[in-house]
Amino acid sequence: MGSNGQIIRKKDLNFWDRLYIPEILKGLVLTFRQMFKPEITVQFPEERFTPPAQFRGRPVLVEENGVERCVACGLCSRVCPALAIEVQASETELAKERFPIKFEINMVRCIFCGFCEEVCPEEAIIMSNEYLLVFNNQQEAVFGKDKLLKSAAEMHDRLEFLRQHR
């Protein structure tokens, strides 16, 4: 504001700008050109989008030969900036010695950062391509092993992506 109350423009418009017509035409041309390009809009929720392997959807636990890879080291739980993960270890006769008797991720806390996947020494927790998460209450948002376990075959794409890019 100037001292007399007038607005001072930083950059005054030139003659052509002030005509407006050329600018409007430019915009119309751009819109017109798009009409001949392939359509990318997805009619969500009728249509569903399947994200590529690099997408960070909800974290899941990889199951192999009927058991989770996880050794319940608690590193994901420690690194999680949102304190979303709770792990309770227990002993197993298998060579890995320990397994998570309880593994819970509070999906209301999770921020999909992928740190858990990055820190895991066993590639046991990885990000999936699932992004549709709807809860009716807080308890529902706490995912236990029943909801977290996914077979390695099912998670093939992400595991392959991690193998190549890590």
């Binding site: 050794v71 319940a72 080291c73 608690g74 590193l75 739980s77 420690r78 304190l83 709770e86 270890a89 227990s90 002993e91 890995k96 010695e97 320990r98 819970e104 509070n106 209301v108 020494p121 066993e122 807080q138 706490v142």
Partner: protein
């Protein structure tokens, strides 16, 4: 004294010391695995190599005695290079087990790998494999792969526990720690090897996989297992005690603790059988009730008896504060003369290291603060006799399951009124008319006096219903700090219990006393004013190391509080 220079710092030290001792005493860290202040020098890990001027080769600081004018360097290039090499050798066969190893987070090898190692491995052959789940004894598990052959455990078993059952077999990279045939590591101090093992080779079978160490809070407190009163750390997660570990105090327990103290003094605190809230007997049944009603009921019932008809039994398990407030209310407000406590001495169950025959943490304190009869005719035998004979009709018992002794139980059946402070339902509460749920030693602040006459502080590590970890200054784990009310992990069980000193103070108020104790520290302050042996002490001066009682004044008479 000898003049010693370590890293340009000139020190004046006792020439009897070794370089590592002199450095430790002056706060200079020389990394080491096999050296331990309380064990003989083995000098086998080579981690403490330092450069000593005028010595051609590097010397191990743990076995080099200080000499006048000695100049030591702990950070020179030669030393760092040697240390890196030692670390590299140690890590060659060490498994990448940290994720499944209970030691992770408090492991010397892990810490030194960060501080003193080059940060990567040049070794790409196969590691040597060895047995991984060996039961060394009933309480200790061995993972041979993780062992770095420092021999600390061997020396501990030989020199401290005096049960020389551990040894090495094989040579070179194939060395295996083992017990001699037909023996196992089962002495009463066996679990100390878990702490002194610098790696995760020796782990506690009880604590195995219960929690990562960084998930727990740790509180400086005192073991309640016997009258030694070993200093210890109480490790808590989700309001549950998960393990106890010794805390160094040279005057009491050095670096050690006995296995019973470690394993038997906490499960009952976590127990689902704990009382939550006071109970009052109605129509023969013990029913849960509120604190105010229970206190009012106890006060009304006690008033029904004449002075000589009421007796009181304090507790060597309770704190000085509990016992002091208890005897004060009993004497001042009820005119009780029959006042004593029951000793719990297991004859012969003691040794010259730590374990004491008196299985209570506070017998000396209870006596000192006034839970003792003015004359023998008012002591425990007289109380029991009075109850049997019918002259004593009401009894008030503080935190002690006295009816677990069948003889006493028999006697108690003659009572008209029995009021009890207890932690869980037991033989005594089953006979009681009013039961107050008392906080355990893990849930309150206060002091014990051990057999030496040392006043030591216990601190609350477990929150009761009325306490708040943050507001009441508890040690907090990360989970405690950040739990919101929606998080399940902040919600370990909490009991509706109160420290005994508070319960009896409230009872005193109901009986007409001017209640003035707000905190256990208030009670302690009054103890220091009234009991000469405690004179001049404060919670602060007792601190984390404890403080000896003043020498007993001539003819200590019971603290008659008037």
């Amino acid at each position: 004294m000898a003049k010693l220079t370590i890293d340009e710092r000139v020190l004046d030290v006792d020439p009897q010391l070794t370089v590592i001792q002199a450095a430790a005493a002056n706060g200079i860290e020389i990394p080491h695995f096999c050296w331990h202040p309380k064990l003989s020098v083995a000098g086998n890990c080579r981690m403490c190599l330092v450069e000593v001027e005028k010595m051609p080769k590097l010397a191990i600081a743990c076995a080099t005695q200080v000499a006048e004018g000695m100049v030591v360097r702990t950070k020179s290039d030669r030393v760092i290079k040697a240390r890196n090499a030692v670390m590299e050798f140690l890590l060659i066969n060490h498994p990448l087990d940290c994720p499944i190893c209970d030691e992770a987070g408090e492991c010397k090898l892990q810490d030194y790998a960060y501080k003193y190692s080059i940060g990567y491995s040049r070794f790409d052959e196969d590691k040597v494999h060895k047995p991984k789940r060996v039961e060394l004894g009933p309480r200790v598990l061995l993972d041979v792969e993780r062992c770095i052959m420092c021999s600390r455990c061997v020396r501990f078993a030989d020199e401290v526990a005096r049960q020389p059952v551990l040894t090495f077999t094989q040579r070179g990279t194939h060395v295996v720690l083992t017990t001699f045939p037909e023996t196992q590591l089962d002495n009463r101090y066996s679990m100390n090897v878990v702490e002194i093992c610098p790696v995760g080779a020796l782990t506690s079978r009880d604590f195995r996989f219960k929690s990562r160490v960084w998930e727990m809070s740790s509180t400086d407190t005192i073991c309640a297992g016997c009258s030694r009163g070993c200093n210890m750390n109480m490790w808590v997660r989700n309001n549950e005690i998960l393990r106890l570990t010794p805390r160094h105090n040279e005057d009491v327990n050095s670096y050690w603790m006995c296995d019973d103290g470690r394993l038997k003094t906490f499960p009952w605190v976590n127990s689902p059988r704990r009382l939550s809230g006071p109970l009052v007997r109605k129509d023969g049944q013990l029913l849960e009730t509120g604190w105010d009603e229970a206190i009012a009921k106890a006060a009304t019932d006690l008033r029904l008896f004449r002075k000589g008809e009421v007796a009181a039994i304090g507790s060597p398990f309770a704190t000085n504060e509990d016992n002091y407030a208890f005897q004060k209310v009993m004497r001042e407000n009820l005119g009780v003369k029959f006042l004593d406590f029951v000793e719990h001495i297991v004859d012969g169950d003691e040794d010259d290291l730590l374990i004491r025959a008196d299985k209570t943490p506070n017998a000396r304190g209870a006596r000192a603060v006034g839970v003792r009869p003015a004359s023998p005719s008012e002591g425990l035998p007289a109380i029991l006799k009075g109850i049997s004979g019918g002259s004593i009709k009401a009894l008030y018992v503080l935190e002690d399951n006295i009816a677990s002794d069948p003889k006493i139980r028999e006697v108690l059946t003659n009572l008209d009124l029995l009021i009890v402070h207890a932690h869980e339902r037991n033989e005594t509460t089953e006979m009681a008319d009013v039961v107050f749920s008392a906080s355990t030693y893990a849930e309150k602040h206060g002091t014990f006096v051990n057999f030496q006459g040392r006043v030591q502080r216990i601190r609350a590590a477990i929150a009761t219903l009325e306490q708040d970890r943050a507001l009441d200054g508890f040690a907090m784990s990360r989970w405690d700090k950040f739990a919101s009310q929606n998080d399940k992990w902040g919600k370990g069980p909490r009991r509706d219990a109160r420290p005994s000193w508070r319960i009896v103070t409230a009872l005193g108020a109901a009986l007409g006393a001017k209640a003035k104790f707000q905190t256990s520290e208030d009670v302690f302050r009054e103890i220091t004013e009234r009991v000469p042996e405690f004179k001049g002490l404060t919670f602060m001066s007792v601190g984390i190391r404890g403080h000896m009682l003043a020498a007993r004044q001539a003819a200590a008479k019971p603290v008659s509080v008037t």
